[in-house]
Every structure is written in C-alpha cells, then in structure tokens.
Amino acid sequence: MNTDIILQLEDLVKYYGSGESLVRAVDHTSLQVERGRFTAIVGRSGSGKSTLLHLIGGLDRPDEGRVIIDGTDIFSLKNDQLAQFRRKKIGFVFQDYNLIPSLNVWENVVLPLGLDSRKVDTAQINEILRKIGLEDKKNAMPSVLSGGQKQRTAIARALASKPAIILADEPTGNLDSQTELDVVSLLKSCVQEFGQTLVMITHDETIAQMADRIIEIEDGRIGGKVEN
C-alpha cells in the first residue's frame, strides 16, 4: 500500500443487462488517485462516468474488481459498515443538491455528523460556512436559497464531516456559467485548504481544465489522461 494513493480502482467491471442489450458501463477500469489532488472525470453522457463514481462511492457494487479507499477495500465491508465508512471518509456533492427541505442550512450541514452521533465542532462548521459565503444564511430554509446557495450548502455538508475524499457528480449542472465557475473555484480552494481529495464528474471542458488531472472516459474505459 502506498500512502500517497488515497483511492485505487483495480480492474473494475460493471455491466447492465445481458445479451444484445448488454451495457458495459464500467469495463475493466483501473485508476489511482493521489491524496490532495483534484481529478476531473470527463466523458459524453452514457460513457459510464456516473456509474464509475457510484462504484467509487460504494453506492453500487461492482461485478468484479476492487475499490480501495485509504487502504480499505470498501466492498469487503458489510453493508452497515460500508455506510458508516462512507459517512466518515467520503463526502458527496450531487447535481440536485439533495438538501432536506424541512431543515435549515445549519441543520442540513450538521446532519451527517448527527447520524454517527459525532460531536459537532461549531467553530469548524462556522469556518466552513464563512469560507463558503453562507455565514448569514445559517437559518435560511432551502426553499428560499438560490441554486448556487443550495450547492454551497451541499458542499459545506460534504466538508463538515472532514472526509478524506469528496466525490462530486456534475455539481454545477444546474447552475449558470458564472455561478458554476464560482462554485468550482470554491470547491477547489476548499479541498486545497483542508487537504482533501476531489474527484469530479463534469461534461464541461472549462471546468475540467481547473483540475490537476483530467481522465476521459469512453464506453466504460479510460480513454485519455492529461496531467497539469
């Protein structure tokens, strides 16, 4: 085990359907992601990039292969262990924010901590909210927030549990291009500041350019890599 590798994919395979309608969503993919790096995964829709991210996040089980996060083969864990591991080590940011409508910004952010009955570090959460520009929106309900503010809340939620790795699936898909730039810059500088690793799916070339590394997915396989 190399300590610099936070995420390792070993020959991952995930097929859907069978016979004529067999879809090779992830087709023998291997990848290593170093700690503290920003990796962008790009590809056309249907290229299997979302499936890949779901496998990395342990949201879906592969047909073959292993996903090793921080030295742990996540699919060797039992379901409840996996759920706990996920909450502790992985932060998710989705396109649809997935905020709970009946909770305000603060409550949404600290919710995952409550699930593991971890102590809420008020100073730390305040620091995140300050950095993310939501300091004055702590008590606001999601319904009154703009798209950008909702996504900021989701990012704060992902950062709050101090995960080792943040997985973002088209996080800016619903935002206009300026807000998109703002949110991704923010996400990038946050993970840089907190020493985390960011893996982001995007179809946007402009956003992908900001990454340290761009991985192109074609038909479930890695097509090209660019290092910056």
Partner: protein, 412 residues
C-alpha cells in the same frame, strides 16, 4: 510465555492444595473437639445416673458393635443420646455432624473461588502489561521504520484504549506527512533536472540564430548593406534572448519556491491596470484596442507583483495571437466567493483538444507555433501557478465565432 503461565498455574494449584490441607485439618480438629465433648457428656451422664449404665451401653451396643472408646462412632452416640433424651427428657447439644461435610465443601469451594479470582486478576494485569509492552514494541518498530523511510505500515492499535487509537491516528498522519515530504523532495529533484534540460533546450535555438547572424556579419562575401541588416538581425535575436532569459528566471524562481508569494489586501483595479500597461505598447503597435470593464474596485488578497505578471501573461498572449485591428477586453466581475477576471480576444483561438494542455510547461499549441515563432510556452504555466497558489483558478473557453475567453478567479 507458556512456560511462565504454566508455572504460575502450578503455583496457584499448590497454594490451593495447601489451603485445602490446612482447612481440612482445621475442620477435622474442630470436629474431633466436638466429638470429645459429646463423649464427655455421655460419661458425665453415666456418672450422674449409674442406673442408666446398662441401658446406655445396651443401646450403644444395639447401634454399634464396635468398642465404644473408639471415637469414630459419633452417629451411634448421637442416636443413643437421642433415645435416652426421649426416655428421660434429658437435653443435650450434639456436634454438628451432618453439617460437617457441608462446611467442608463450602470452605473448599470458597477457597477455590478465591484462588481463581486472584489468579484471574493476576492474569488480567499481566495481560494488560503484555498488551502495553506489545504496543510500545509496535510503536518503536514503527518509528524505526520511519527512520528507514518506510511510511506505510502503521500500527492501528485497534483493540487498545482511546488514547492509543489517537496515537495511532497521529502516527498515521505523521506517516502521510513524511511520505508526502519524501515524495515532494524526489519530485522537486526530478523537476529541477527537467527544468535544466528544458531551459538549455530553449536557449539553443535563439543562440543558434545569433551565431548565424554573427557568422554572416563576419563573413567575407557580404556587402555593407547586408552586414548592417545582419547586425540588426543579431540585435533583435539578442533582445529576444534577453526576454526569454527573463521569463526563464521568473519561472525557475517561482518553481523552486525561491519566491514566496506574499498576498496582501490590495486594490485589484491597480493590479489589472498595471498588467494592461505592460502590454499596452505592443497592443498599440498592432492597433489592438484594450478595453477594461470594471465597475468600482475590489480589495482582494493577492500578491500585487506576481498577480500582475499572471494577468499580463494572458493579455500578452491575447495580443500576440490576435490579428491587427481587433479588440481585447478585460472584464472584472464579482461573484459570491470569488472575483472573476475575464480576458477576451478575437484571435486565432485554441483547438478544443489542446484546451486542457496549454498550461503545461513549455507547451505551445500547434497553430501558435506556426503563426508566431518566438515564445517558450511558459506564460500560461506561470499564470496558473501564480493563481493556484493564491486559491484561484484559470480556464479557457473557445468563443463561438473566433477568439478565446480566459476566465481567472481569485478568492474574495
């Protein structure tokens, strides 16, 4: 370790055996004492009532054929006494004969339990001690591994107390830190090597043309006019060489962390103006208008000198790769947590497949190379490094008709 615990076990068994012997002996003597007392009472009874002698002895003999001086026949005595008591209303106390075995069993059992409990505590204490020793050993092994440069095998202390687990976490972090440090050192070394190779390569071409100009000037078959021309050419080459050297010096200094960026709260407007002023003359020579769209000013935490350099590099590219009589626009727009600095040109544009590679050191787009000869492919690399070190970003977008928009952000 096994032999040691065997020895311990034997010790405990011996202690228990000693206890059993002593306890049994004690109980036995108590019982003997009671029996003697009983016999005394019988003898006393016989002395007081000689008329009962026959009856008592008869009864005795009826219950036991043995000699009555033998003291093992307590049961017989008790039975005899019970009969006499019934007959004469005589009250006597009997030895707790039936309870004797009960007492004995209880005594032996509690002795056994106590020995076991003591043994258990001893064992637990020793085990704790052993675990502690084992943990210390693992810790010192881990530290020794650190010294040897192995940072991956770190004891987890999973079954240990919270403090040990915290220690394990700290060790893990330390290991990561060391590994990163080691890796960075290696990377920096490689980087330095690559940089030296790259720089010497970059210097070769302009030096070669300079040499050519020089050789032509000093050649015999050249007219005076030609000489002057080649001299001017050489002058130009030298100027280019100087510019390139400046760029390379900047690059290597930044790269080697010889220059630390010093971000301070300062006016972004002034920095943008400074950047624009650096390329203004070049733009005018090509009749390219440079417009700045900025409403008000922003105080942004940034290193004034190097950020101006970063912006100027992008602006310089915009001017360099645009045709005459076009426009370059700088737009500054505040976002929520960042400020966006856009540089838009109407130039040749960047091929889609090259968009993500333009930030690599010494990378030059294929069309850029064709169109403009000079250029080392350093500018955007520097710009990205300067911005990212301050928490900012850079990305480029092709415009629909022609030209490129560079979007740079800096945290507000």
């Amino acid at each position: 370790m096994d032999g040691k615990s065997d020895k311990k076990l034997t010790g405990y068994l011996l202690a228990y055996l000693a206890f059993a012997v002593l306890f049994s002996g004690f109980l036995f003597s108590v019982w003997r004492y009671h029996t003697a007392k009983e016999l005394q009472r019988v003898l006393f009874l016989l002395a007081e009532h000689p008329e009962l002698e026959t009856e008592v002895i008869g009864l005795w003999e009826k219950y036991d054929q043995q000699d009555f001086t033998e003291l093992t026949t307590t049961d017989a005595i008790i039975s005899a006494m019970e009969t006499i008591e019934e007959k004469y209303g005589y009250r006597m106390e009997y030895a707790p004969r039936r309870m004797f075995w009960g007492f004995w069993c209880a005594g032996m059992l509690s002795g056994a339990v106590m020995t076991a409990v003591l043994g258990y505590f001893d064992w637990r204490g020793r085990r704790k001690n052993e675990l502690f020793k084992e943990q210390i050993r693992q810790l010192s092994e881990c530290l020794a591994r650190f010294q040897r440069g192995e940072f991956d095998k770190i004891p987890g202390f999973d079954n240990a107390s919270e403090e040990w687990m915290q220690l394990g976490e700290r060790l893990k972090e330390l290991g990561f830190y060391f590994a990163a440090l080691k890796k960075r050192l290696g990377e920096e070394e490689n980087n330095t090597k690559a940089l030296i190779t790259d720089i010497s390569h970059q210097l070769k071409t302009p030096l070669a043309s300079l040499r050519m100009s020089y050789e032509l000037v000093t050649g015999d078959a050249v007219t005076e006019d030609e000489q002057r021309e080649f001299q001017a050419q050489g002058e130009k080459e030298m100027q280019k060489l100087e510019e390139l050297l400046d760029e390379l010096v900047n690059l290597s200094r930044l790269e080697m962390h010889m220059i630390a960026l010093k971000p301070v709260s300062a006016s972004l407007k002034e920095t943008v103006t400074e950047a624009v002023s650096r390329i203004y003359m070049k733009a005018r020579q090509k009749d390219i208008t440079v417009g700045v769209e900025m409403e008000g000013d922003f105080t942004v935490c940034h290193d004034v000198k190097w950020t101006a350099e970063a912006f100027a590099n992008v602006l310089e590219n915009a001017v360099k790769y645009s045709e005459a009589h076009t426009a370059v626009t700088v737009r500054v727009v505040p976002l929520t947590t960042n400020v966006l600095i856009e540089v838009e040109d109407e130039g040749m544009g960047i091929a889609k497949e090259e968009l993500s590679q333009i930030y690599q050191r010494f990378y030059r787009g294929s069309r850029a190379k064709e169109t403009v000869k000079e250029g080392a492919g350093v500018g955007l690399y520097l710009t990205r490094m300067i911005l990212e070190r301050q928490g900012g970003t850079i990305s480029a977008k092709r415009k629909a008709r022609r030209g490129t928009v560079f979007k740079m952000t800096l945290p507000l």
